[in-house]
């Protein structure tokens, strides 16, 4: 099967405008007859469901949490990018597009990224209209800050809770559509299969997690907005329930999986404190605006951070990357931290951490406040006090979170941070219309692979989720459903629904009947360790080959020795987890296979064999400038299809942040 990305003809600037003006439309009366299923209610799912409901489609949403408002988009802290150029600092649609393509290490589709940049400004307008309380300046206008990989201030934010505020905005829009009867919402429901009829996605099998019952739901189209798969590593910044199951079921039914090995390791997370650790907590990238990252110049230095004098500190990001300093992209910052720790300069009890220090920011802000308030001859204590107040206003909730988790006061001592799995750039392959290789099945937000290439820039995930949901899918879905207006709703006693439900039931019964000795959690931890050690921040051929064998063996052991307590037809979180871990055990193998195939380093994918003399990622454009889209052919049997990436506007070079 040849991949058709369906990128419209014309110049980069005109493609989306032209598409919108010429795509097919569905008239309002017909929209009322068309049913759309949305899986997941994060930024992508909630915004899509609300917008489609407003247009008049009959929408059903499903989420595994107890309310759509819990989706993990809520945890995004730092902000959302938009090319508004409110700061008059040289931003533009083109520059946001260019930064995103470059930040993604030239592995993203130009046309998609340009569209993303061009709708970014509309997102901010929409959110403000919904009542999203973004941070403002004293003049009453919106405030911006900087994020990694950019030299302009284009990030809009609401303290350190931007994701929460955006999701609540989308959730409220969604609830309004529920009240109006356009959307029916199902909470504590998990999708366990796609139903295919005549080669098209026509519905889903979901499990009611409260009663354990399987349900069939028809849709003219199905939208996967189910997020990323970072939890394959067990420890990540994802929520405990975040999973690949919906995307993986689609993959097994024929949706290709794009670039599964592209995972983002976020540089600023709270380090692991022990074996009991269940998840990792991110400290927003926005902290790199003002915080300075350093390690001692001496290896194994056990002094307390405040006892190490300035001249004995190595601000290694500022040293290595003077142009971007502490604001290099995430992949670069993470690898630099790993390099220092591996070389023996790490700090804290585990030595797997570096310092993120606010002392100089507190002084800087304190001095500004002193002069603002006209305090003459302010003493050091006043400057420090006022500086801390400013830092508290900007980052207070993050500092509080750090203090609760570590028991240390970050206003007094530098924070300890270390990289952690955060986001997956890979995902279900989609064309320009966000349609997967299964007709009628779409993937939006982190669930798809399309916009971030091999590395995502900070504050761009929120932008992409909302762009896809508010501004892309309402057009592209209509363009395809216009051909479906004569398709009547298919009753769910159709044999395809019956067969799909039976398949799901058999698998669940099989899991429950194993009655082994080892818990689901334990298998998940073991898988996570293999993935982190061999398919994590640095990868090599030998390790990846070993990992593939180890995962296969672990999967076999899982299916013969997992212990799931409780019953099928009741609220059973262990069974829910088992369903998800079973899929992670298959996905992990494909990620290693993809990483093994890609004999180059790019963005978040770092193959030790391919690095420059000074340890930077070495891309091999002549051979690997393509999207690897994997087709499922049965157990451990995946076939790769290539989608060549053509750069018509941007000229790929080696990324330099020096």
């Amino acid at each position: 099967m040849a991949l058709n990305s369906k990128i419209p003809a014309g110049s980069l600037e005109d493609k989306w405008e032209k598409y919108k003006s010429t795509c097919k439309l569905v008239n309002p009366a017909n929209k009322r007859q068309l049913e759309v299923i949305v899986i997941g209610t994060g930024l992508a799912g909630a915004s899509a469901a609300a917008s489609l409901g407003e247009l008049g489609y009959k929408v059903k949403t499903f989420c595994f949490q107890d309310s759509p408002r819990r989706a993990h988009s809520i945890a995004a802290q730092g902000g959302i990018n938009a090319a508004k150029n409110y700061q008059n600092d040289g931003d533009s649609t083109y520059r946001l597009f260019y930064d995103t393509v470059k930040g993604g290490d030239y592995r993203a589709r130009e046309a998609n990224v340009y569209r993303l940049a061009s709708v970014s400004a509309n997102i901010i307008d929409q959110c403000v209209a919904q009542g999203v309380p973004f941070a403002r300046e004293y003049g009453g206008l919106l405030s911006n800050r900087s994020f990694g990989g950019t030299q302009v201030q284009r990030t809009f934010y609401a303290a350190g809770q931007t994701g929460q505020q955006l999701l609540i905005g989308a959730y409220q829009a969604l609830e309004r559509q529920v009240a109006l009867g356009n959307v029916t919402q199902y909470s504590r429901h998990e999708m366990l299969d796609i139903v295919m009829i005549d080669g098209k996605a026509r519905g889903v099998i979901v499990r009611n997690l409260v009663t354990g019952e399987l349900e069939r739901h028809f849709g003219h189209a199905v939208l996967l907005c189910s997020g990323g798969y970072g939890n394959v590593f067990y420890l990540s910044t994802n929520a405990m329930g975040s999973n690949v199951t919906a995307a993986w079921k689609a993959h097994k039914k024929g949706a290709f999986f794009g670039n599964p090995c592209y995972t983002q390791i976020h540089p600023t997370c709270i380090p692991v404190s022990g074996d009991h650790q269940s998840k990792l907590t991110l400290m927003s990238e926005s902290l790199r605006n003002d915080g300075r990252i350093w390690v001692p110049k001496k290896q194994g230095d056990n002094r307390k951070p405040n006892e190490i004098p300035e001249e004995e500190r190595d601000y290694y990001l500022e040293r290595r990357y003077p142009a971007f300093g502490n604001l290099v992209p995430r992949d670069v910052a993470s690898r630099a931290a790993k390099e220092r720790c591996d070389a023996g300069y790490g700090v804290g009890a585990s030595k797997q951490a570096v310092y993120l220090d606010y002392a100089s920011a507190i002084q800087r802000y304190g001095k500004i406040e002193v002069s603002k308030q006209g305090i003459a001859n302010a003493d050091a204590a006043t400057i420090t006090k006022l500086g801390k107040e400013v830092v508290k206003e900007k980052y207070g909730n993050l500092f509080d979170m750090y203090a609760k988790i570590t028991g240390e006061n970050p206003y007094e001592v530098p924070m300890r941070i270390y990289p952690a799995v955060h986001y997956t750039m890979g995902g279900v392959w989609v064309d320009y219309e966000l349609q997967t290789t299964i007709p009628g099945l779409y993937a939006l937000g982190e669930a798809n692979f399309s916009d971030h290439g091999a590395n995502r820039l900070g504050a761009s995930a929120l932008m992409q989720g909302l762009a896809d949901g508010y501004f892309v899918i309402p057009y592209t879905l209509g363009n395809n459903l216009a051909d479906d207006i004569r398709t009547k709703s298919i009753p769910t006693d159709h044999p395809a629904f019956v067969a799909a439900e039976n398949e799901v039931r058999e698998r669940i019964n099989k899991l429950m009947s194993i009655k082994g000795t080892e818990s689901v959690e334990s298998f998940h931890k073991r898988l996570g360790k293999i993935m982190w050690d061999k398919c994590g921040m640095a990868r090599n051929e030998k390790g990846l080959k070993e990992a593939i064998e180890e995962i296969k063996a672990l999967r076999k052991e899982f299916w013969s020795n997992v212990r799931i307590p409780g019953e099928v037809n009741e609220y059973n979180p262990e069974l829910d987890k088992a369903n998800r871990v079973a899929d992670f055990l298959e996905l992990g193998e494909l990620m290693c296979l993809d990483a093994l195939n890609r004999n180059e380093s790019c963005g978040g994918h770092f193959r030790e064999e391919y690095q420059t003399e000074d340890g930077e990622a070495e891309r091999r454009d002549d051979e690997y400038m393509y999207v690897a889209a994997w087709e499922y052919k049965g157990d451990s049997n995946f076939v790769m299809h290539k989608e060549d990436l053509n750069y018509e506007v941007v000229h790929p070079t080696q990324r330099s942040y020096k």
Binding site: S51, I74, N122, G131, Q161, R176, D400, M401
Partner: protein, 258 residues
């Protein structure tokens, strides 16, 4: 910070489903690190129960970073435990001492029926939002984001109200199981912004009506909600809600309300 290990006795509410009666079950856990989160201590308990062939304790949780609002335990009589402005997932074991007995219960309110053990059904909150907790603006209708300046202190106050995570601790803490803090935070958030102003009268009437229909109790100014709120939502929101409500009543603004 000094690290230590502890042995604990847990008295945990066990309830098979909504219809059956619940009871306390006693468990013992050993070598719990002071660096664990409260939920990680529950992970240890559940792994232990699974290994023993027993049924683990069901509890709600997701983000484990204090923002999704899913975790919900009453710990030693206090919603989310004794640390101020902290969710259960962010409560850490250094809050406890070796040998302590900890009592853990679900949110208790008739509008939050127990699903199993410590898991409750909070869909009544969704329905309160459906009654009017939004701005009626369709996608694509918006004007430029900077077209309407908003005073910084108003934006900041609206944000402070909008920081509610919808966990329901306010209801669990209130002797009347009132949802006034939750409701008032949303009414305040939207009423303080020009975008939310056109619908403020119908909004407050409809949302209050829905709250009453769901079976939440009434507010008698006890203040337990504010004390237990993990996000520090101020009780001033309730005062603002009352003003909004009275204003809407006297103004006949309820004509569009249900």
């Amino acid at each position: 910070m000094e690290h230590y290990n502890m042995n604990l006795t847990l008295k945990v509410w066990k309830q098979k489903n909504t219809n059956e009666k619940g009871r306390f079950e006693t468990y013992h856990v050993k070598d719990i690190s002071s660096e664990m989160s409260f939920l990680e201590m529950f992970d240890v308990l559940n792994e232990q129960l699974i290994a023993e062939g027993k049924e683990p304790v069901a509890f709600d949780h997701d983000c484990r970073e204090g923002i999704c609002g899913m975790c919900s335990m009453v710990i030693n009589g206090r919603a989310h435990g004794k640390w101020e402005q902290t969710t259960t997932c962010q409560l850490h074991m250094r809050a406890f001492k070796d040998g302590e007995t900890i009592v853990v219960e679900p949110w208790r309110a008739s509008a939050f029926p127990v699903i199993k053990d410590l898991v409750v059904d909070r869909q009544s909150f969704d329905r309160i939002i459906q009654a009017g907790g939004y701005v009626s603006v369709n996608t694509g209708n918006a004007v430029d984001a900077n077209a309407i300046p908003i005073e910084k202190h108003m934006a900041d106050e609206a944000f402070a109200s909008a920081a509610c995570i919808g966990c329901g601790a306010c209801v669990a803490a209130c002797p009347n199981a009132s949802a006034m803090l939750f409701l008032s935070a949303k009414v305040s958030h939207l009423a303080m912004l020009p975008q939310g102003s056109p619908e403020r009268k119908e909004r407050v009437m409809n949302m209050v009506n829905q709250m009453d229909k769901e079976g939440f109790g009434s507010c008698t100014n006890i203040g337990a909600c504010e004390a237990e709120c993990p996000k520090g939502i101020s009780i001033e929101n309730i005062a603002r809600l009352n003003r909004e409500y009275l204003g809407a009543m006297f103004d006949g603004g309820s004509k569009n309300s249900i």
